[in-house]
Subunit: 279 residues, 2 copies
């Protein structure tokens, strides 16, 4: 692991790091904020998965999470959203919603993407091991949140690993990728026609198939241009209602899909996580 | 005035706007955050002047000011740092510290800069008039802060207009541009050899020449790479001590010159401003 930058912030340290990933076969960058803490302490860790087109840098610069993390004593980790670099194939038409910046948190099975696009294993296994080895984290106290495509990643990770993550939440998540254009393109491209494989990367389908989580917090803005076609929070509401899974789903008036929305509610989400991480 | 973007944030509205400036003879962009407020209310306005290389966008995206502005009921305005566009001359060697992104908040007297580089009149006269006409501001309650070159701008504006600004503060300001490389280059380039003109754009010289302000807050980081050569806060301390001007000068351990530093202490500064704006 190589340190790219370190900056003091809110009494802690915002770092950016690079490492050679065995899963993606590429160099991967990520950011970690470590809040002020007593020597020797092991802290809870919050994973943040970003949306389409983002790298670790978007939330690191615009997410406004450090104030709450410093106050609550949370480590905050932001991975990249796809492999990158020479030899990594992207979208054939250079679209923003597939390939680079759009890994969708799956392990691709379809050539030519299967070699590098292993973001599921990267964010749920490889990077947690690295972070646990390099930072003062308590691996028994992890939680996960994300935005849009990263909200999809956070919800599916939580539903498939309910014992590992003590809390999960999302900003404007894609809740049913099997049924919306962004998701159909991505799951088809990375996983092919195997619809059972799609269901394991679809929060609503996972809940329909029996996956459960203690409770979920989801915020979305009613001025989000992707709301009705791509996000469809009502599908998550219906699945949770049917399954008896406690969902706090909040419609935020006037908010869009941007970091102006995310940063506004970041503190709320981190307090939700902290309550469960420290319970 | 043309609206470039509007985003709901912390219950208020973050806007970006453009207008044709009579002072600079160019199109100028700026951002304004309007916090949630009762209909018909007139709010205090805080001016933020940015540092070298910045536009309005840096603080708008990374400054983390909206949370405190929403809580305190403050409008926050961020102008650009120079004229830009076709026909605007820059640094002959394309350096970052003169010309584009480096207007130094003066009205240039030297050709070819005198035609467009009129940032002093722009930020202290033209833009305040426009903002007062277009936004729900109370022009009797204004304050000013800034970073680095913008800290220089904020301190000189406050010292020359102590009745207009009710509060002033700075992050890592250039306090004595007449005596440091960045300032000598900029003041020489824009104002020529007239050292009396330089003194009117030098906070320490203004205080030596009798300018006063009710009190000042200045933060700097002791890991700031520009501290000893360009910023020299000790010169401001000495001038304020001699003049009996109350200065709260805080050395922040481990902090550098970045927005990670600025955002950490932004809330403190805005609370300092709010106390004085509402007194």
């Amino acid at each position: 692991m190589q340190t790219v930058s370190l900056n003091r912030s809110y009494g802690g340290t915002q770092g950016v790091y690079k490492h050679a990933s065995r899963e993606t076969g590429t160099e991967m960058a990520f950011s970690v904020y470590v809040p002020p803490h007593p020597d020797g302490a092991k802290l809870p860790v919050v994973w943040y998965l970003s949306g389409l087109t983002c790298t670790h840098a978007n939330v690191t610069e615009k997410g406004e999470f450090r104030s709450a993390c410093a106050e609550l004593g949370l480590i905050f980790v932001a991975p990249d959203t796809s492999p990158r670099g020479e030899g990594v194939p992207g979208d054939p038409a250079n679209a923003y919603d597939f390939g680079l910046g759009a890994g969708f948190y799956v392990d691709a099975t379809q050539a030519p993407f299967d070699r590098h696009y292993r973001m599921w294993s990267y964010v749920t296994a490889e990077l947690p091991e690295l972070v646990a080895a390099q930072f003062p984290v308590d691996p028994k106290r992890q939680s996960i949140l994300g935005h849009s495509m990263g909200g999809h990643g956070a919800l599916t990770a939580a539903l498939r690993h309910p014992d590992r993550y003590r809390a999960a939440s999302a900003f404007a998540p894609i809740v049913a990728p099997s049924r919306v254009p962004w998701g159909i393109k991505a799951l088809g491209g990375y996983l092919g026609d195997d619809k059972q494989a799609w269901r394991r990367h679809d929060a609503v389908a996972l809940i329909e198939d029996g996956a459960r989580f203690r409770d979920l917090l989801v915020d979305y803005g009613d001025a989000d241009p992707f709301l009705t076609e791509q996000l469809r929070p009502e599908l998550l509401q219906a699945a949770c209602d049917k399954a008896g899974l406690p969902l706090t789903l909040r419609r935020q008036a006037g908010y869009d899909h941007s970091y102006y929305f995310i940063s506004t509610f970041m503190g709320d989400h981190l307090r939700w996580h902290a309550t469960r991480l420290k319970a």
